[in-house]
Symmetry: C3
């Protein structure tokens, strides 16, 4: 038996001349979802119980430095069926999409660095937070509806300080715009993402601006506010990097998708608060795609926001609340409001934890005379274990 760091830090290896390091991590989540529908939004009619047991995530991770301390790398594989779907798509070579991350991150000059390869775009905060480090069982409806996910290409990073504490970080990405593991190449144009982050009170402990819940105690208030803007030139999929392909013959008929994210994270002692705003729209404000006067598809446009807050009690137990509102044009889908109450027991911070949350989702069509009566609501109760070596 070879001795390794304590639990949660992975298996760690180093080349004898320090020419590289490698941390190997394994993690999985076992999730149980209970779901009901609420007929006519009337809580007297809670019915249609259904359930879903899932290995929600099962990941292998490799990261460290390679060749020089200035070159980092990260490799991550998803192995669960929820992570690797769509092996029936020609665009991904009729294969399961196992590779999540594969990039090198080269600090080529002072505060400048570039990531080359496939990884998450600098989009909304919830998406950039690892799925291992979430405050609730899973991300919000805002994220599932509007996030720009992973993509492949280049990401330039820079950061600097204003005065002693005020940190500003900027990122600009040039990527393919088709999402991860596409083998069929770029359809339409490239994707351009810009993000700026402001941390007026300095760094969070242990990168806590991208970690849910107050698992690290911040003796002084810490805040990060950021804005990101993504331009997916002539998008080929309904959501840009995500969603089904729209079967476009002439990409002059495709539309450019614009996505704006504004978000913040605030942490102080046992309190953590996070909020996000998202707006996605086509260049001309019309979500439909036309070819030869026929509507052949619809982009997933709309807007939304969420706000969540948690309080860490003794014994690493946290209670948290989240409110999410998503508004969509009726041709895109129904709008939603969701209220979530979350409970977490952190046995070893986010590395070994039990989480459960209860959500009420109000599905409705805005501006209809019969209000939201046309669409049944939902109740979700989810329970999850996370184990992360």
């Amino acid at each position: 038996q070879t001795t390794m760091p304590t639990f949660g830090k992975g298996l760690q290896f180093v080349g004898k001349d320090s020419s590289y390091t490698m941390k190997i991590g394994v993690r999985f989540q076992t999730l149980f979802i209970n779901q009901w529908s609420v007929r006519n939004d009337d809580l007297n009619y809670v019915e249609d119980y259904s359930s879903n047991f899932l290995i929600r995530r099962w990941r292998l991770k490799f990261d460290g430095i390679v060749y020089s301390p200035k070159i980092k790398y990260k490799l991550e594989l998803g192995l669960s069926n929820r992570d690797i779907g769509a092996a029936n798509n020609p665009q991904t070579n009729f294969a399961s999409s196992i590779v999540l991350d594969a990039y090198i991150d080269w600090n080529f000059y002072r505060n400048f660095s570039v990531k080359i390869g496939q990884t998450k775009l600098p989009g909304n905060r919830e998406r950039v937070i690892s799925s291992a480090n979430l405050q609730f069982v899973d991300r919000s409806l805002l994220n599932s509806t509007f996030n720009i996910d992973r993509d492949i290409g280049l990401q330039f990073h820079h950061h600097f300080k204003l005065g002693n504490n005020f940190i500003i970080q900027e990122t600009a990405a040039l990527t393919q715009g088709e999402g991860r593991n596409v083998t069929a190449g770029n359809q339409g144009g490239f994707d351009y993402t810009f993000k700026v982050e402001f941390l007026p009170f300095g760094k969070f402990a242990s990168k806590g601006d991208y970690v849910g819940s107050a698992v690290k105690y911040e003796a002084k208030p810490k805040l990060s506010v950021s804005a990101a803007y993504d331009i997916n030139d002539k998008a080929s999929k309904e959501g840009g990097q995500l969603g089904a392909y729209i079967l476009i013959n002439d990409f002059n008929n495709a539309k450019t998708l614009h996505t704006l994210f504004i978000d913040f994270m605030f942490k102080y002692k046992k309190l953590s608060i996070m909020g996000e705003y998202a707006l996605k729209d086509t260049e001309d404000g019309n979500p439909n795609v036309f070819e030869d006067d026929n509507e052949i598809g619809t982009y997933d446009v709309g807007s939304g926001y969420n706000l969540s807050a948690g309080w860490m009690f003794d014994k690493n137990v946290e209670l948290a609340l989240r409110y999410t509102a998503i508004e969509k044009d009726i041709v895109v889908g129904n709008s939603m409001k969701e209220y979530t109450l979350g409970f977490s027991k952190f046995f070893n911070a986010h590395k070994f934890k039990f989480q459960t949350d209860l959500s009420y989702r109000d599905n409705y069509y805005p501006n209809t005379t019969f209000e939201n009566k046309g669409k049944n609501d939902n109740i979700y109760w989810r329970l999850q274990f996370e184990v992360h070596f």
Copy 2:
């Protein structure tokens, strides 16, 4: 080079505060199958030779303890095409089914423990025996026809002793009933499995009640007898956890599958004997599913038994015999009797071995006037290497 335990014990790591252990195992099987058909069951007409070279299994395994010595975990991935099929199914997210095991096993009170996640159900003995530890090249027809495979949910275990030696183990499982890696959730009802095991003469060496062949010498006779019962409420697949989905619209038309297993393992010195009985039936004894007066599918019901015995000669060479009989209603398929002669050379017990077996399979329809003449028989000759780090 970092020193590890001897071959067959995997790569072993331990957190420096003993907060976790991790054993990493790799294994693969390379298999060659030769097959003939025997026309009209007449050995003068052995014909239609066909062959199949396979990487039958290629696995990665991770197990150990996590957080506390009372919490174990096991993670296993299948990577060979035989293990990960059906990426064309919407129910598994159009993805290859790579995850085999992913669970934690918590000894929460005295002799009580609970497994949470995905793993094998407490079904027939042959199925619970690892595919690395089989007496023959592969499991019997009884197993491929009736086993209840893996599932996801909860499994409660308990064991106690009667007197000094007599061990009784009980297991009760509450699972989804759809088999492994289903992302579409539970259709029909849950699955309930109960198993009780009797070991009147105490524990086998090295968990030998679930290891084929007398690879460990038992100086005194050892016996395990067990019975398992599985209730798959409103089953959605032809075999419950396995088989094709039956396309049922109204699950009131689905039927509940009941499966009974009775089996035993006996070992003494160089002798090992194993037997199994299986019975699978629908709640009403009719295997067909009807919707709007149309038959839309058939459950894989029937009964069968097998009996195998092996003798370990010098130099870790074993000869073994197996007889399997499967009886099915004619609407489900043909019945089968199979006679198998197996030879194994264990270079390092089950960790590095060569196995070959020769089988004669008598395919027939019971109660037909022309006996089994309507169906050709088969001969199989299989050769396999197993390497298991």
Copy 3:
């Protein structure tokens, strides 16, 4: 942190009684392809720019010895979508084809050894060279058109010396002939491959006869010349081990594919030269397959050669040139000539490198009156990072 060899040598483990060794390697390539078409072969009409960002390869490798120093093994997995395609094929169990290599290599007598399992056939040199060790961004058109890839079965190797230096190596393989990870068994007949290699001036440094570029300095000239011949009896796929299945009902109508490869590698100081010739044809010289007088498919027959040469400059920078010519019958496809200029910067030989190449591909139909005007040409500019632990 556990100390390991320097970068590029993998994680290395050894059983405490030397009963096994295991080297674990991880590697990935991140590739960017730019492509243009040249209308009517007229460089005044370079148009139709398209691009493709890819995680081209993402691999896990395990190799070492097992049980005895005379038994080696190699296991390799491909995880990128480009490597694991065709999960929509029944012949591969509707699963992604993740397993690349899985074999044991047993040196059973003096200079004789046998590989049992799945790995590359002893075909053309470029194919046998690892995709990690190529002189250009990727292999040539000769390889993609005619190579015989991986297969499963047995490979017998032998080598001997003539005098002090002249090494001769012979290989004979008996395999299934269907390529890798087929679960449906052998269709048509087996595959027979024979290869003989002559190294008149002795071994290359670090197995450099199967490594592209002069990454090792050869103080004296080194040469390897080899010839390989493959017979795919009653081939089921268009290219034998590769390509789409031809839907043949009666394999008496299938044809036997013959493939001849002649190639060489020459290295001296900073110079490396490689050349290959390939010829693939059906037994009767007609590429088409007929059933009931209907043409139901076409084998990928034809011939081609390539010649490449590189010069290693200071600072591990190499420039290389390659010329490839492929000739096909018009019923099989268009013929091609390709001119490639390659640039490589080896930060750590092939383990961490940047490569880029620029190709002009002349697509044409031989013997047509309008020369190659009927088919547009292509320009490719590719850039790639390789990281190989």
